[in-house]
């Protein structure tokens, strides 16, 4: 009943087991695990910070990189042997409670970023730009963005689990294999798209969207 929560703890454990040895006794010239982890983190910061300006990117890049690594690990946990919605442990992003939590974090991060960069009144002014007739559209976008983030992530991962589960019941050993390979691609793309959209929403709230 609580498989999603326990699997999230497993994800925290996995990420901590990779990060803590990589950042212990850090040297100026990196070797080994620190080198690999620096490459991953540098790629993530460049890729997601490309949409934001320099100082905003420095402030919000840790959150975006955490989103990417968490969602990537969670999607890939569903491809290991022993996982599945029908019997076995479940990737947490296959439950829409967890994806709505991630989308709510993005929602609050957007508003906090906008107020921190532009001040309260400047941020409210961006709701009525370029024209006050845009106000209902902007308000509707504020609701539609987190909703579409949840449903996109949940639908992709849960749908993949459901289809692979049915195929495993129908035709056991070889038929689900192409779909599991597709799941590798889909997991990466969904993690990427969630984070790119979060970065783009933060960019438009801090005034870079023009």
């Amino acid at each position: 009943m609580y498989e999603h929560v326990v699997t999230q703890w497993i994800i925290i454990l996995i990420l901590a087991l990779i990060t803590i040895p990589a950042t212990k006794n850090m040297k100026v010239v990196p070797r080994g695990l620190q080198n690999a982890w620096e490459a991953i983190v540098q790629w993530a910061l460049d890729f997601f910070g490309g949409a934001l300006t320099e100082d905003v990117a420095k402030k919000w890049a840790p959150l975006l990189a955490t989103f990417f690594l968490f969602i990537l690990t969670s999607n890939y946990l569903g491809l290991l042997p022993g996982a599945g919605t029908i019997s076995g442990f479940v990737p947490p992003t296959a439950d829409w409670n967890i994806t709505v939590t991630l989308a709510l974090i993005v929602f609050f991060a957007v508003h906090i970023a906008g107020v921190a960069e532009n001040g309260g009144l400047g941020y409210l002014k961006h709701f009525v730009s370029p024209n006050p007739a845009f106000l209902p559209l902007n308000l509707l976008e504020e609701i539609a963005h987190p909703l579409s983030l949840t449903i996109r992530l949940f639908g992709n991962i849960f749908g993949h689990e459901m289809i692979v589960g049915f195929l495993v019941l129908l035709a056991p050993f070889f038929i689900p294999m192409p779909l599991v390979a597709l799941g590798v691609l889909t997991g990466l793309i969904q993690a990427l798209v969630f984070t790119i959209l979060a970065a783009s929403y933060i960019a438009s709230a801090t005034g870079e969207g023009h």
Partner: protein, 79 residues
């Protein structure tokens, strides 16, 4: 019994028509991406990133249809 049948037919149409529109849209997007990369190979990295983002947007609408189908499918047993 009629309600169960209608739920099943509704689920089928939800997935099919959602996937139809999504497939056509993704084909048009991919066509634009191929042509722009063929015209100017230096922008391949940027176009590839933008293509993935656009495909994920279009796929969201297809996933909405799939989720409605799942919900209807679950309702069949409850009726």
């Amino acid at each position: 019994m009629l309600a169960k049948g209608l739920c099943a037919i509704g689920a089928c149409f939800a997935v099919s028509i959602g996937a139809l529109g999504g497939g056509i849209g993704m084909g048009i997007g991919g066509k634009g991406a191929f042509e722009s990369i063929a015209r100017q190979p230096e922008v391949a990295g940027d176009v590839r990133t933008l293509l993935f983002i656009v495909l994920a947007f279009i796929e969201t609408l297809t996933i909405y249809g799939l989720l409605i189908a799942f919900m209807l499918f679950g309702k069949i047993g409850a009726i």
